[in-house]
């Protein structure tokens, strides 16, 4: 075992290393050193052998040298004084006629990473830059970077930097790329290597091996072409690498494309179309890690081009033996690709995943069905209801949570959901699932005949309840149920409030119970206003699909680790509490009059943390001429032209006719935040606004006015 018996091993090895008989026999000597390395790789602390190993360094056998260097580089930091002894041998090797030996010595000299040895290293490194063998120059160039990392605060030697710049023109492509890497590290303080037009074109014309290519493409992102002609020259040069068989080159090229074409959205979109093939090929790669990364990047692309993969949806079906993290990503992609033609097949496929052995995958599949349910609610509800019949704990929990989220967005599903709820409280074990069930019982209490009986079981067991969330949800639910079915609930509400106020140890629960108690004192109408104020509007139809984002929203995170991380955020959202706590709803304008005016209520908030204190309600009067009922599609299209997205609207010919809108300011350089503007458009009533952030708001309003004016004039 690695960590045991270390001391004996070390003692034995030392005896062998210092044995003159072993030292004279080259083969035995090397084998002993081999044992040292083996012990080292097993985690035994062999640092005590340092002085013996230094002696072994002076040899003509290259393999022995390599072995000793591996040892020395690992333990040099612990023995800076003894390491001084190695330097002489190393410096002698730097003069060796064999370039392999020279590069080996130079590399290990810099790998010792001891600041005390710096003065001895600089001279051979300078000589190494002018060596006639390319492999020595490669090592020497990177050696300067290592030297700089040892003492990052030291003065940068201008002569060395100049020499490195001139080596960018070296005939060996690897020396060139290594120069780039070294300069990037040495000049980090100044923002990296300076990229001008001649260097750019020199680099682009000498793209060589795969790894170097990625490096060059990444560094070139800093270059801004001076004219459009130059830009297109560069793009044509890069075209071959855009469809490169190596996914890492393809990704680096696309990243450069997007940064170069940030002002030309049409060209960027064409580039995205072009990489579809290589990306899909990467999704079918043998390596599962590669497949995963490709999937994450496809998700980014879909944000701007939702139709990009439409025809290839079958590529995202999960294989039986695929790891859970790939399956979950594939499902996220599948949800984006759903349309009228493939919905039956997709749902069939997802249904198969719901019974996956891995519970996380199963739950992800269920919530994916829920997401699709926002557009195809009947079919999805049928599947979800079917899953409840399996009486599996984790499945039921996920289904109930999904139904809760679905009902909030599509209230028309509530009848089916209420029917399905009967009896599932027996299977539910985890707090998330029970919380969801309670919420549904509270909001749709009058439709579930057994609601009070289910609640009673919960209230009887409240003493042994451990989850804080369930207790708080239970309080709210009982209050809500009391409002619609007082006769059946009054008694148990009293018991619950009594327990929570008198016996409950947790402050949060107690405070909430006290709040409700006092609220009840204020009268039933007040209570109703507080507890039943927020409901989603059943007449709202949610738009299918997601509006496409501009590429600039995600271009900077392409080919970084960012898209790989995002999955965790999305899974978090499935474990959140009731939807009303997170859904942000603009305040409806209450005074309706018969004038055919639009009122506009704008709510505006900054950041996401202190929403409560930061959001401001702004209202402003805008007068519009009457717009005859225009079709939602034309309104949506018109709004999208000016980057205003439509969230939802009521069906035509209903009064009051509402549209919810949102937009956000672009990431301008000076302001750190993105301002999000939410608006409600009301077909009747008047509007008044108190502008605070006038600049952003005024712009939004003037654009909105123009759009509405244009629309109305078209109708006339």
């Amino acid at each position: 075992m690695p960590y045991l018996g270390g001391e004996d091993t070390v003692r034995e090895l030392r005896r062998a290393l210092s044995n003159p008989n072993v030292q004279s026999d080259q083969l035995r000597y090397r084998n002993t050193i081999l044992k040292v390395i083996r012990a080292m790789s097993q985690g035994v602390d062999v640092s005590g052998l340092f002085s013996d190993m230094v002696k072994a360094c002076a040899t003509v056998d290259i393999v022995q040298k390599k072995l000793v260097y591996v040892f020395l580089c690992s333990y040099a930091a612990l023995n800076p004084e003894l390491s001084l002894l190695v330097i002489n041998t190393l410096r002698k090797d730097c003069q060796d006629p064999n370039p392999m030996v020279r590069s080996l010595a130079l590399r290990n000299m810099t790998n010792l990473r001891l600041p005390s040895l710096m003065e001895y290293v600089e001279q051979p490194l300078t000589a190494g830059l002018r060596d006639r063998a390319a492999c020595v120059r490669r090592v020497a160039v990177l050696g300067w970077a290592k030297l700089h990392n040892l003492q990052p605060n030291s003065e940068i030697d201008a002569a060395v930097v100049n020499e490195l710049y001139s080596l960018l023109r070296d005939p060996d492509p690897v020396v060139m790329v290594n120069c780039l890497r070294a300069l990037e590290e040495i000049l980090k303080e100044e923002g990296g290597i300076a990229i001008n037009k001649p260097i750019t074109h020199h680099l682009l014309n000498r793209l060589s091996d795969v790894w170097g290519q990625c490096e060059v493409l990444r560094i070139l992102q800093r270059y801004r072409p001076q004219s459009e002609d130059e830009l297109f020259d560069i793009l044509s040069l890069l075209d071959a690498s855009l469809v490169s068989p190596h996914p890492q080159v393809m990704a680096a090229t696309l990243s450069l494309f997007l940064s170069l074409c940030s002002g030309l959205p049409a060209v960027s979109l064409a580039a995205l179309e072009r990489v579809r093939g290589p990306l899909l090929a990467a999704c079918g790669s043998v390596s599962r890690e590669l497949r995963f990364t490709a999937l994450c990047h496809i998700q980014l692309l879909l944000r701007s081009l939702p139709g990009l993969m439409g025809a290839h949806y079958k590529r995202f079906f999960c294989g039986y033996a695929e790891p859970a993290y790939i399956k979950q990503r594939k499902m996220q992609v599948l949800v984006e690709l759903v349309n009228d033609d493939n919905v039956t097949m997709l749902l069939d496929e997802l249904k198969g995943y719901c019974t996956d052995v891995n519970t996380d995958t199963a739950q992800a599949a269920i919530s994916a069905i829920g997401r699709i349910g926002r557009s195809y609610s009947d079919r999805c509800l049928e599947i979800l209801t079917g899953l409840l019949a399996l009486k599996q704990e984790h499945i039921t929990s996920a289904v109930v949570q999904t139904m809760r989220d679905l009902v909030w967005v599509c209230p028309q599903c509530s009848d089916t959901v209420c029917l399905a709820l009967e009896g599932c409280e027996e299977t539910l074990q985890d707090s998330q699932g029970r919380q969801a069930l309670l919420w549904l019982l509270g909001v749709y209490g009058e439709q579930v005949s057994s609601a009070p009986y289910t609640l009673e079981v919960f209230i009887d067991g409240v003493r042994s309840e451990v989850s804080l969330g369930v207790k708080m949800e239970l309080l709210t639910t009982t209050m809500r149920l009391f409002l619609c079915r007082p006769a059946e609930t009054q008694d148990m509400l009293g018991r619950l409030l009594h327990y929570c106020i008198e016996e409950e140890p947790d402050m949060c629960v107690r405070d909430q119970a006290l709040l409700y108690y006092r609220l009840l004192h204020c009268g039933i109408e007040e209570t109703q206003k507080v507890l039943q104020g927020r409901r989603s509007d059943p007449s709202l139809g949610v738009l299918i699909g997601r509006p496409s984002e501009p590429i600039s929203q995600w271009a900077c995170s392409f080919n970084t680790l960012e898209p790989l991380r995002q999955g965790t955020v999305e899974t978090d959202s499935t474990s959140r509490g009731s939807p009303e706590h997170v859904t942000f709803e603009p305040k409806p304008n209450t005074d309706l009059s018969d004038t055919l005016n639009f009122s506009l209520t704008l709510l505006l908030f900054l950041g996401d943390e202190k929403m409560e204190e930061d959001y401001m309600c702004l209202e402003e009067q805008i007068q519009f001429p009457a717009i005859p009922h225009c079709s939602p599609q034309s309104l949506q299209a018109a709004m999208q032209l000016v980057n205003i997205q439509t969230l939802a609207f009521t069906p035509p010919h209903t009064l009051p006719w509402r549209v919810y809108l949102y937009t956000h300011t672009q990431h301008a350089g000076d302001s750190p935040h993105i301002t999000l503007i939410l608006g409600e458009l009301l077909y009747t009533g008047e509007a008044n606004q108190r502008a605070v952030l006038k600049k952003a708001l005024k712009g939004f309003l003037s654009i909105l006015t123009t759009v509405l004016h244009t629309l109305s004039s078209e109708r006339k």
Binding site: L142, W211, Y320
Partner: protein, 433 residues
């Protein structure tokens, strides 16, 4: 870029570590072990983990984790591809990539890692170049080395590194000049319960073994190159000529290499070589079920299907299987619930059949998930996509080489979804009470 590399075995021991910058303590792997424990199955460990100071990017190959530690934001594809390259190189050198083989050749592995990366940047990753600097061990050489004490390090400067063709060394000489190409295709398909194709694609690869003297320039042309959808080539292939003329023109590396990978994804082009008639049913009363599978040839272009093997992951509730096979043998693993039926050669006159009863656990709800059936097969001398090499020409050298092409079709991820029916028999007594 890549700061350190740890190799971790199946049971969670670190058995090799290599640092290209400063030494990072092994304790950084604790974050990985935590994730490994949470994932239960080692395959499910996410490839990218974030720790307070580092990113851990790992790949899982041959029951080993290659875990790289990274300190700054990097392109993930770059690192993942590089790690695979490390694993490929080890595989290439020692024939397999496993803990035992790496431990046996630990010194060569250290040497390789030292050459492949310097200061965290990829240096020499081309296997031809590496093999000139560090010779792969052969039985003969290791015997010679032990006797003479000579090393397996090349004493000459690798010439390939300086030539204009970085993948080929200069001055290659053979007495027998030969070039062999293997066209290997794998069918990835999902068939649904009724046997219709849900999804099918072909992943093809052309492996080459070229031993030719000098600097030959080869041109390989196909009868039907338009079949191929996504192609990716070895860097030696001239992409421009492929785009304009659809031929592969290249100066080959010396020895074995992968010339090209391709996909055929349009579904109507993918022939499905076998059909499966299957039914699995469970009875509501009584602890048993029934299974019946027949396999027959479908589109095999007149070739025989060999090495047929059927693997079924049974529902958890199935305790044991009592079956009879008309051909081949079957085994049922009680712990993993995997049924394997090894058929061998498929005889079109007498179709193999497997039928019998399954015993299920009493009192457990009927199996909820539909089992799926994975098929493994081989067809020699056939590329199922219909791809055919028409000719190979050589320019630049005078001699006449020996040429050969072999075709092979295999099943990749070939999956058939099973129809699982539950028989509900009425309990008469409860009806009448």
């Amino acid at each position: 870029m890549i700061h350190s590399l740890f190799l971790i075995n199946h049971s969670g021991d670190i058995f090799l570590e290599k640092h290209w910058k400063s030494v990072i303590s092994r304790s950084v792997c604790d974050y990985f072990f935590e994730a490994r424990e949470k994932a239960v199955d080692p395959e499910n460990v996410p490839p990218v983990l974030q720790t307070p100071h580092h990113y851990l990017i790992s790949i899982y190959r041959g029951k080993l984790f290659f875990l790289s530690v990274i300190q700054t934001e990097v392109a993930p594809l770059f690192v993942i591809e590089f790690l695979h390259r490390v694993a490929d190189t080890i595989q290439d050198y020692f024939g397999e990539c496993s803990e035992g083989i790496i431990k046996d050749n630990i010194v060569t592995v250290y040497e390789l890692l030292e050459e492949m990366l310097d200061n965290g940047f990829p240096l020499a990753t081309e296997s031809n170049v590496l093999k000139e600097m560090i010779r792969p061990p052969t039985i003969l050489r290791s015997v010679v080395n032990t006797l003479t004490g000579s090393s397996n390090v090349g004493d000459t400067l690798p010439t390939g590194q300086l030539s204009n063709v970085p993948w080929r060394r200069a001055g290659v000489k053979y007495t027998n000049n030969e070039a062999y190409f293997d066209v290997i295709e794998e069918i990835d398909a999902i068939l649904d319960k009724s046997g219709t194709t849900v999804f099918a694609e072909i992943q093809g690869v052309i492996e080459a073994c070229v031993r030719l003297t000098g600097m030959p320039d080869l041109t390989l042309s196909f009868m039907n190159p338009r079949l191929l959808d996504d192609v990716s080539f070895h860097p030696c292939v001239r992409f421009k000529r492929w785009e304009s003329e659809r031929v592969l023109s290249f100066i080959p590396p010396d020895g074995n290499f992968t010339l090209m990978n391709y996909h055929v994804s349009s579904q109507n082009l993918v022939a499905i070589p076998v059909y499966v008639k299957q039914s699995i049913s469970f009875f509501e009363t009584g602890p048993c079920g029934r299974l019946d599978i027949t396999i027959g040839p479908k589109q095999t272009m007149g070739k025989t299907v060999e090495n047929m093997m059927v693997t079924i992951h049974m529902p958890k509730a199935v305790l044991n299987a009592n079956l009879t096979a008309t051909q081949g043998t079957y085994t049922y693993d009680l712990t993993t619930k995997v049924l394997v039926w090894d058929i061998g050669k498929l005889n079109p006159q007498k179709l193999p059949n497997l039928r019998g009863s399954l015993s299920t656990q009493v009192g457990v709800p009927k199996p909820e998930d539909n089992p799926s059936l994975n098929i493994d097969l081989k067809i020699q001398q056939l590329a199922i996509s219909g791809l055919k090499v028409s000719r190979l020409d050589m320019y630049g050298e005078k001699y006449k080489p020996f040429k050969g092409v072999k075709y092979l079709t295999k099943a990749g991820k070939f999956q058939v979804k099973m129809l699982c029916t539950a028989h509900f028999s009425t309990n008469w007594r409860s009806e009448y009470i």
